[in-house]
């Protein structure tokens, strides 16, 4: 019989705080290749274990092993590496541009490049992503022009969103990238609605929903799971578990009690955990989930286990809440280094070629940046017009807005 004394309030704490030694010994890392690959029509009840394991393809020696390996050609892998390297370089340049005052704000993907870059290659043209602010790899891997991304970040005269949106809140219907909102989790249920619409229309296109570990605590995460499950919507429900939601560790969103993937199980949704720093594993699982959706088998929930190596945003200093060297201790390593080592192991890549590619990519990104800056930056050069502020709210401008636009002198 437990002691029925005074109640005590429980608040989870991360294992280590600044000044401490990083410790991920509580994160069990299964061996690469150890997770079986079921048929897409599998009864979800028989694969519940997959929500508690981590599906990995690349082993310590950089070899691709197990039933989820072998889906990509060397050429595709080299392209994937280039996408991740481009995103990382893009991030570094834009982070620097923010520090130089050329824009107000930026958010990096450091350490999470494989998730969005590899996922994008599993989708077909016409599919729609409903991303958060940390999946720009979906655009990079789909060939969206970097100059246009930068124009948006600089809110300049060539900004496709006319200066109305905070930097990095991109939108591109053409590239299957739904308009990003600042409100967390809202897009998760919208993705399900888009997928429902595709099914209602007897279409063949599918949707992908994106959310972070912290935002799974939002109500719309639950809404999305209920709707996706009820209507068997053709949607991939992605959870990017990078361990941190600004300063709060994933335990505050109640990670650690089961897994984020396991939250799909109560809805009968097949739910998998993947090594988010393993380009091959991310791609393989995304492809499996996409095939399920396209075959009218309904939603799949995928948790990508990764680590937010950078600051939350350009306004954040992680050393205030976690050890500075924590990302070095992360047991799943760096996605770029791991794919690079795999390609070297395959004999199609080398340290020299890698260094050369890094230099080439940097040149390309700098050239794009120069072009974007010729259209202006936040405080200098060309900018969207004041008139743009009033336009485009409604299909047709209502009288009260027209009056206000006149008052503003435009």
């Amino acid at each position: 019989m437990a002691d029925a004394g005074m109640l005590r309030f429980h608040v989870p704490e991360p294992e280590v705080r600044p000044g401490g030694t990083p410790d991920f010994s509580n994160v069990p890392i299964p061996k690469a290749g150890s997770v079986p690959r079921p048929e897409i029509g599998v009864d979800p009840r028989t694969i519940r274990d997959m929500a508690f394991s981590i599906n990995r393809v690349l082993n310590r020696n950089g070899e691709a092993v197990g039933p989820w390996a072998g889906l990509l050609t060397d050429e595709e892998l080299l392209t994937g590496l280039r996408h991740m390297m481009t995103l990382r370089t893009f991030d570094a340049r834009m982070q620097m541009a923010q520090r130089q005052g050329k824009t107000s704000f930026y958010m990096q993907h450091l350490g999470e490049e494989a998730v969005s870059c590899a996922f994008r290659k599993a989708l077909a043209p016409g599919d729609m992503n409903f991303p958060t602010y940390r999946q720009a790899g979906l655009l990079i891997a789909d060939g969206y022009p970097m100059v246009t991304m930068m124009n948006q970040i600089y809110s300049n005269e060539a900004d496709p969103l006319k200066g109305r949106q905070l930097p990095i809140m991109y939108s591109s219907k053409e590239h299957g990238f739904f308009s990003i909102s600042g409100n967390l989790a809202t897009q998760y249920i919208q993705a399900v609605g888009w997928a429902m619409a595709s099914a209602i229309s007897n279409d063949s296109r599918i949707a992908a929903a994106w959310i972070g570990d912290g935002s799974t605590a939002e109500s719309d995460f639950h809404s999305a799971l209920v709707f996706a499950s009820t209507y068997k919507a053709p949607v991939i429900l992605n959870v990017v578990n990078n361990q941190w939601a600004i300063s709060t560790f994933q335990g505050i969103a109640r990670g650690g009690s089961g897994t984020f993937a396991a939250r799909g199980l109560g809805f009968g949704i097949p739910s998998l955990r993947v090594d988010g720093n393993d380009y091959l594993a991310v791609h393989a699982v995304a492809k499996w989930a996409a095939e399920r959706a396209r075959s009218n088998l309904g939603p799949t929930l995928v948790e990508y286990v990764t680590y937010r190596a950078g600051a939350h945003s350009s306004s954040d200093d992680p050393s205030a809440y976690r050890p500075k060297t924590e990302s070095d201790a992360w047991p799943l390593g760096d996605p770029i280094v791991r794919l690079k080592n795999h390609l070297i192991q395959l004999g199609v890549w080398s340290d020299e070629r890698h260094a050369q590619a890094e230099a080439e990519i940097l040149d390309t990104v700098i050239a794009a940046q120069k072009e974007a800056e010729s259209h202006g930056t936040l405080h200098a050069g060309g900018k969207p017009s004041t008139r743009d502020m009033f336009e485009g709210l409604y299909a047709e401008m209502p009288p009260h807005l027209r009056r206000q636009r006149q008052q503003a002198g435009v």
């Binding site: 969103l161 939108s171 809202t186 249920i189 919208q190 609605g193 229309s201 709707f227 709210l393 409604y394």
Partner: protein, 337 residues
């Protein structure tokens, strides 16, 4: 011309719209097989199938959020929130998402949804079946807000709302579902079959959004009202003998300011009436607009008659609801001011 109740008119509007455009889908709690707790969607599932009209989980944010995704895909969802009092879980989706999707994506994505919600009191609905939250929508840039007061308008406005390329909040005064209500709760209610505005044409027609209707022409005072309050104002004018010009706004945003200003410039006086609570209610916006646009024509302060600044009570229904006696007093005071 056939006469229909407001319920039948609203159902007919969805029927006509679904028949004309296969992109129109209808869903919400109890909306499918059962046909809605107010019968507004009765028969639609049987006629158009479960892919076009279906039941939703009890999750308002999910209903509106999924509708936004459908609209982004290219459908035209017309969804129902069972009571306006229960729209709050969807408020995030409505105010931050639906309203801004076109703007923030510079037209890359749009959100042509209609969100129907039964609104208003006078039915002993208590705190969570009586609210009038229109001011919470008119304050949101990017939404349109509509409140019909009769079957003819309800059908025409709803079809117009479904065809509108932007998100529309469609507030249906449930007190008016079966007949007009003048606030005399002690008298039997007349059904719509006895009222000329119960005449609802078959087939397709629209009542344009953003256009008010003058329900009673008058010269002494302008009354700005919408929904159930239109009939309260009419009763108050008759009972006081004051020659009021009663304007049924129909659409709160975009607002038909021209009709309002022309009337107040003619009468020199204005009384604003709504069921919603007074402070920061839509009446405050109307009053300010009249003052700004008609200042030199006003012969009395703009008066507001509204629900008290309390939650909507149960037992005190008729002490709360702004009835013809309260509106009548405001008319007299404004005339005598």
């Amino acid at each position: 011309m056939p006469r229909r109740t407001m319920i039948e008119a609203i159902r007919d509007a969805m029927d006509v719209s679904m028949g004309r455009d296969e992109r129109v889908v209808v869903f919400g709690e109890d909306v499918g097989f059962f046909g809605g707790v107010f019968r507004c969607t009765q028969g639609l599932q049987a006629k158009y199938g479960k892919s076009r009209c279906f039941d939703a989980p009890i999750n308002e944010s999910g209903i509106v959020g999924s509708a936004i995704g459908m609209a982004a895909y290219g459908l035209k969802p017309c969804v129902e929130i069972q009571f306006a009092d229960y729209m709050y879980p969807a408020y995030d989706q409505l105010t931050q998402e639906a309203s801004r999707l076109r703007y923030r994506s510079n037209g890359d994505f749009t959100c042509p949804i209609v969100v129907r919600m039964p609104t208003g009191g006078g039915i002993f609905g208590g705190q969570t079946h009586s609210q009038s939250p229109e001011a919470l929508f008119t304050h949101v840039s990017g939404l349109k807000t509509v409140v019909p007061s009769n079957p003819h308008d309800a059908k025409g406005l709803l079809i117009a709302a479904i065809e509108d390329p932007d998100p529309v909040i469609f507030l249906e005064p449930k007190r008016l579902y079966n007949g007009p209500f003048d606030g005399h709760h002690d008298r039997p209610v007349t059904p719509w079959s006895k009222h000329e505005l119960g005449e609802v044409a078959d087939g397709h027609y629209t009542v344009p959004l953003g256009k008010a209707a003058i329900r009673r022409a008058g010269s002494a005072v302008t009354v700005l009202a919408y929904g159930t309050m239109v009939y309260i104002a009419q009763a108050a004018a008759e009972e006081t003998g004051i020659d009021a010009e009663i304007i049924d706004l129909r659409t709160l945003l975009p607002l038909d300011l021209d009709t309002i200003v022309a009337s107040v410039k003619k009468t020199g006086r204005c009384v604003v009436v709504h069921e919603a609570t007074l402070t920061s209610g839509f009446g405050a916006e109307l009053s300010a607009l009249v003052q700004e646009n008609c200042f030199y024509h006003l012969e009395a302060p703009v008066a507001r008659v509204a629900g008290w600044d309390t939650p909507y009570p149960h037992a005190q229904e008729w002490d709360y609801f702004p009835g013809p006696a309260r509106v009548g007093r405001a008319l007299i005071e404004t005339i005598e001011a």
